[in-house]
């Protein structure tokens, strides 16, 4: 393999003119340099290659970070650099719903013991006594060791494909199938584990005494002593023991019985019984081991065997305690029990402890009623006719409880049942309405306690229902769009082809409509199928996918004592400004100009503002700046500075619709006000040129170029306004991602994560600055027309002074491109000192050039001339549709001033090259002397050979003005 060693950076030759720096260290993609060996020799002389490598560290860089043949050192990204960065997840795509609790904004809810939830900031006062729920082997409670407020940090909202949302900082770790991963390292599409049970909002319970010694006055003193010793007498409503007891009695009401004089029996699955035993032990009593009994059943002649598991307690005191707390003292069917008498003084979360356990014992598990619909969860009780009123009361309390939580129930059903020997009985049944939203509320706020299988099914049900609702919303949107298209006159067949959904669905959406939300598609799995396909861990977590991560701004964040290491940060957009270049044709020939050069250059120089403090073609006020930023060339058209045809020949027709003037600071607008229509200085200039060569006649014809023709090239940008936008956002991003930015190789690579507010704001502001840049170049061009009218005493229309093309070469744009895996992705293509070079066929091109390819204007140095290229066939594959933007500097400005003297350069150019130069400053001429630039011919030769930008014509300067 041929390699090129550039001061420690080794480039491998891929093929002619293509050199690759393999992805190493923190690089997220290999870097490529497109250059001949002689250009590579020049490129390696400054920090270009190091900067290119740095740029490849940006997360989401797709394919390669690329350096054009004219690349040279810039700040941050090299000039002549192109990077296509994933517009969706090339960003920081941290993500999803986590547990390990740290660095979360104050309004994030934390799960606490006993099924409560509370906003993290509310824990500040009480953290020492609080118990948070954590996921270990299974969900357990854990003390909070440390609570600190960590000041303002940038917070991201992570949303999953099942709709969980959480806000967190980038160093917040999330649990994933691969272990704990910091938010910063997660991306859209990654799996994260969530525990979709939310619980009930924490609320401070009324403090009252539930049981006192007096309640046990009829018992022997020993029993009271037993209870006192275990600290359950007196029992207060705020005691942890009370909360455990609520769960125990709730379960017992569902699936327990009294036995003998002393026993309490509990029935269930062994693992579930184990958890009840643990709670009983925590209250201070000793349960029996778990018994196994095989039971034979005979139901309507069907004989079968089941295994029954149970345990009991044999403490009289415990039994009496539970009865005092509301366990029926006798057969449930006939004791006339209701909810406990103190129930109405409890908070919802306390009542939920009782009901959840009762449901764990009694309520049916989530199951499919019919494929994609779930059964109503129901509970029932059988009561004797004489005690049915108490049963109704019980269910009335239950309905009220649900109602406060926003959970709807069906009416209470009553069935006459087979009466037993002793009395007539009635079966009461309450069901929860089974629409998705209602079931999600029920399963995620209340659900089941103790019964692990039901809890596991509930987690699956929540995720299934959320997914189903999203599917239905998605189909609703398609139905609406289809209807809108059809109403607008699009044929049904065309509409069908627009959407990846079955035709019948579209027809129905268009013709007959439907009541309510559409059903999920046929491919959408049934509930049982879904359950088989997902795994719920023993800690009740389930894996879901990150769907989006977006920045939500600075918020105070809180740490709850979890150690964490901050990791690297992913970033996406980096900051660029928006200069560009345009070329205007004329029907004049070089001979028309000869002898008039001096007059022309003087006229241009005095009429076209340049240099520092030179003002603009127009001075505009605040409203007009807004209009320029929002509307671009359309403003110029309205103000009489453009004709329709100018818009038609400009990139994007001179208007970026994403522009948002509100996102441009006042400071930037202040700077823009007196610079509308001004060249500025440095390498920006206006040049009258003659066409010396046309290399491709057909394309030259389509571009309206022929040998000896006079053209005008204008190279400048959005001026102080665009630079201020850059600076403002660079600082905003720096502040928003302080600490994280430190880990990128260079601060100038500051980037806002795609999808974040800052990225959106910056994109809106940058697009506004691009609109401004187009207006700027338009005003200069139109003023040039007026100068030509004066000098040549003819209408500009008569001189056919028409815009050939205007293209930015410092810009980030959202475009769709093919990436490594062959798929198409939306990318933020960053071209920093690189020109878009779309080949024929791309829909973005103006109609005039769609069949030949986009014109590319490559300004050269004063003595070397410029080139017009057209977008090459290979550009999409090689460079995200980009090529070079100029010659590229070789020499620093300071060195140039040492080596050249402005006046000498000017005189030499005039005498030897017949080039008339006029500048505000002699130093500018020295700094821009032909010798300080790379050989533009070589740059273009490489572009042409690679097929990324094909040579069409070459031009040579006649008059040049600059700042």
């Amino acid at each position: 393999m041929t390699t090129f060693d550039a001061d420690g950076i080794t480039l491998e030759k891929v093929r002619d003119y293509v050199w690759e720096i393999p992805a190493k260290g923190g690089m997220n993609a290999p870097a490529r340099v497109l250059a001949s060996e002689s250009l590579l020799e020049e490129i390696q002389q400054d920090k270009t290659l190091q900067q290119l490598k740095n740029a490849a560290h940006l997360p989401g860089v797709r394919n390669h970070a690329i350096c054009m043949p004219d690349g040279h050192q810039g700040y941050g990204f090299p000039v002549g650099g192109v990077a296509g960065i994933d517009a969706e997840n090339g960003c920081i795509s941290p993500g999803a719903v986590g547990y390990d609790i740290n660095c979360l904004p104050g309004d994030i809810e934390v799960k606490l013991s006993f099924g409560r939830r509370a906003e993290i900031e509310s824990l500040q006062e009480a953290f020492e006594t609080e118990q948070a729920t954590v996921a270990g082997e299974e969900l357990t409670d854990s003390g909070i060791r440390l609570f600190t407020e960590s000041g303002e940090k940038t917070v991201y909202e992570v949303e999953t494909s099942t709709g969980e949302r959480i806000e967190a900082t980038t160093d917040h770790p999330f649990r994933t199938p691969d272990g704990m991963v910091d938010l910063a390292e997660l991306e859209v599409g990654d799996g994260v584990e969530v525990q979709p049970f939310r619980g009930i909002e924490d609320e401070t319970p009324e403090d009252f005494v539930v049981l006192t010694e007096e309640d046990f006055a009829d018992t022997n003193p020993q029993l009271r002593r037993v209870l006192e010793k275990r600290d359950v007498l007196p029992l207060k409503s705020t005691d942890e023991t009370f909360h455990r007891l609520l769960k125990i009695i709730g379960y017992h009401v569902g699936d327990g019985s009294l036995g003998g004089q002393e026993q309490m029996w509990f029935y269930g699955e062994p693992d579930d019984l184990e958890r009840i035993r643990e709670d009983i032990e925590k209250v201070g009593f000793k349960p029996s081991e778990i018994y196994t009994r095989d039971r034979n059943h005979d139901v309507d002649g069907n004989k079968f065997e089941t295994t029954e598991y149970s345990f009991n307690t044999s403490s009289k005191a415990f039994r009496r305690l539970l009865i005092e707390l509301g366990v029926p003292d006798g057969p449930k069917v006939s004791t006339g029990f209701t909810t406990p008498d103190y129930f109405d003084r409890l908070t919802d979360w306390q009542q939920a402890l009782y009901f959840r356990a009762y449901f764990g014992a009694e309520m049916n598990a989530p199951a499919a009623q019919h494929d994609k619909n779930l059964y109503c969860p129901k509970v029932s009780q059988t009561r004797t006719a004489g005690t049915v009123e108490a049963g109704r009361e019980f269910f009335e309390d239950l309905r009220a409880f649900f109602s406060r939580l926003g959970i709807e129930t069906n009416g209470l059903e009553e069935f006459e049942t087979e009466s037993n020997a002793d009395h007539d009985t009635v079966r009461l049944r309450l069901g929860i309405k089974n629409d998705s939203g209602n079931l999600i509320r029920f399963y995620s706020r209340v659900g089941y306690a103790y019964n692990h299988e039901k809890r596991r099914r509930a987690v699956k049900a929540i995720q299934y229902l959320k997914r189903k609702e999203r599917e239905r919303e998605h189909r609703t949107r398609i139905a609406d769009e289809a209807k809108t298209l059809a109403d607008g006159g699009t044929s049904v067949e065309k509409v069908k082809s627009e959407f990846d959904i079955n035709g019948r669905f579209i027809e129905r959406s268009i013709w007959s409509g439907r009541d309510g939300l559409p059903r999920p598609g046929e491919d959408f799995p049934g509930f049982e199928e879904f359950c088989d396909s997902v795994h719920v861990g023993s800690d009740l977590t389930i894996t879901t996918e990150i769907e989006s991560i977006s920045e939500v701004g600075e918020k105070p964040v809180y740490d709850i004592g979890v150690e964490h290491e901050a990791h690297n940060f992913l970033a996406d957009e980096f900051v660029v400004s928006n200069c560009g270049v345009r070329m205007m044709r004329t029907n004049l020939t070089y001979s028309d100009l000869q002898g008039r050069e001096e007059e022309l250059v003087e006229n241009l120089f005095s009429n076209i503002p340049s240099g520092l403090g030179g003002g603009g073609v127009v001075q505009v006020g605040g409203d007009e700046i807004e209009a320029i930023l929002e509307r671009g060339m359309d403003w110029a058209l309205e103000a009489g500075w453009a004709v329709e045809d100018d818009l038609a020949h400009c990139e994007d027709e001179g208007f970026r619709p994403e522009a948002n003037a509100e996102k441009v600071s006042k400071k930037a607008k202040d700077r823009g006000g007196n610079q509308v229509g001004s060249l500025g200085s440095g390498n920006h200039f206006l040049e009258v040129q003659r066409v010396t060569d046309v290399f491709r006649e057909d394309v030259g014809g389509a571009f309206g170029l022929e040998t000896d023709q006079i053209v005008v090239l204008i190279h400048c940008g959005s001026r102080g306004l665009g630079h201020q936008v850059c600076t403002d956002y660079l600082r905003d991003i720096e502040q928003a991602h302080r600490g994280l930015l430190d880990r990128l190789p260079n601060k100038e690579l500051a980037a806002a994560p795609a999808g974040s507010q800052l990225a959106e704001d910056y994109y809106g502001a940058m697009c506004a600055a691009i609109n401004f840049a187009w207006v700027n170049r338009q005003l200069i061009m139109h003023r040039t027309r007026q100068v030509f009218e004066r000098v040549f005493d003819r209408d500009w229309e008569a001189m056919e002074m028409d815009l050939l093309y205007d293209v930015a070469h410092n810009i980030a744009k959202k475009e769709a491109h093919t990436v490594e895996d062959g798929g198409e992705r939306e990318l933020f293509v960053h071209r920093k000192g690189a020109t878009r070079a779309f080949p024929a066929g791309r829909p973005e091109l103006p109609a005039a050039y769609r069949d030949v390819g986009q014109p590319i204007i490559i300004p050269g140095s004063m003595g070397a001339g410029s080139y017009v290229l057209r977008g090459g066939e290979q550009s999409l594959e090689e460079t995200f549709g980009s090529t070079a933007h100029g010659a590229g500097r070789l020499m620093s400005r300071t060195q140039a001033k040492d080596e050249f003297w402005g006046e000498d350069v000017r005189d030499d150019l005039r005498e030897q090259n017949e080039i008339y130069v006029k500048a505000q400053s002699g130093a500018t001429i020295a700094e821009e002397a032909p010798g300080v630039y790379k050989d533009v011919d070589e740059v273009v030769r490489v572009s042409d050979a690679l097929g990324i930008g094909d040579k069409v014509a070459r031009t040579y300067p006649v008059c040049n003005i600059k700042g």
Binding site: D46, V79, G611, K667, T727, T894
Partner: protein, 138 residues
Amino acid sequence: MGYELREHTADVAIEATAETLGAVFGAVANGLAAAMCDEIPEGEHERFDLSVRAENREAVLFDYLDELIYERDVRGVLPVDNEASVTEQDTTEWSCGASARGVPLSAVDAREVKAVTYSEMALESTDGGWRAYVVFDV
């Protein structure tokens, strides 16, 4: 002590040294003026004040230079004879109070420096005081 213009392919770099932090800020600002204009005229031009606050030392230097460029464009003057004092309010806030003599741009032959950059920025204490290195976008 003072400033020097340093080599940079596309842009202009200024290296400055001074005994105090404020003086090194002023020296960089004078370097910025020199990068824009070779011959700075003497004269009784009006001085103007400016002040910035930022979250750390480098940021306050960046913002100070950015503010000078902004003032240059909106006032139409070249800020010369810069004086600055820098104060650490607390660990997260630094302030810089400064003044400059504003030479009308019409009175000088000046070129535009477009923006300050963080590229290769250095601001460090040395045996003799402070050293700063700043690259400007031209």
